[in-house]
Symmetry: C2
Subunit: 152 residues, 2 copies
């Protein structure tokens, strides 16, 4: 597969670059939606969202589901906890393992932010046809599956 003449590498046509360019803009715009109005970081928002969806999970579980590393999770949990947005205890069966839950305030905040980000997503999707949305979803699945299962 190394049959390329390598000056075929043109950054603006290069798939990883194009993906990264798009993603960075979207992530930044999305973060703007809540960092400006609410005192919460993107990492904290992820944890807030995953705990709304899956209560009672551990920090490790949350990291698994959000693809965040454990240090980032630990810091986000600490931040949310200090703002009284989540409640942490340790499991009685396994005292190493945390059990995380949103507080009432945390749930309230989630419900304030969620419409903002879903509106943003909807605006994005609205420029695609139903068929294109489906294509995009399948392409992302296919690529994600590839890069997560392939080993170097």
């Amino acid at each position: 597969m190394t049959d390329n003449k390598d000056n075929a590498l043109v950054l603006e046509n290069f798939l990883p670059y194009r993906l990264s360019y798009l993603t960075n803009i979207i992530s930044h715009q999305l973060a703007q939606l809540y960092t400006t109005q609410f005192d919460i970081t993107p990492h904290e928002w992820k944890i807030l969202a995953i705990l709304n969806r899956y209560p009672n999970i551990s920090a490790a579980d949350a990291g698994e589901r959000t693809a965040m590393d454990k240090v980032a999770v630990s810091r986000a949990v600490k931040g949310l906890s200090e703002k009284s947005l989540l409640h942490k205890i340790f499991s009685r069966e396994d005292k190493r393992r945390s059990v995380l839950n949103l507080t009432g305030q945390g749930t309230d905040l989630f419900h304030k932010i969620a419409p903002l980000v879903t509106d943003y997503e909807n605006a994005l999707l609205a420029i695609l046809t139903k068929q294109e949305q489906e294509q995009l979803s399948q392409l992302l699945d296919k690529l994600t599956h590839h890069v997560t299962t392939e080993k170097s």
Copy 2:
């Protein structure tokens, strides 16, 4: 089991999240390809690639083409320069403006790294049909155009 009546925000279905997840993995794998073997950062690699393609451009031009901010460009240029991979002069017409070029060593390094990253891209694309590759390209264009023209 999935009690999510309040709204539709489910992280694992959320387009910006899925995009970001995929992109982060790809960026990381890609960086591994050259950071382990060569003493060069991702920012430096971007500048190396863009200068191979467009010699004699300024730092501002390079930033424009790579979507890097000027501080990141400045540091990458400094790093490459210290490794004798690029040569910087200032324009005679406008002494503020830099004129950047790869050195012989810089060009050599580019030609070592380029096949690695294009092979990676090809392996990614190989799991898609020609038609899917075309779809992906069009979808990225459409989304990118939308998020860059819409004012935030």
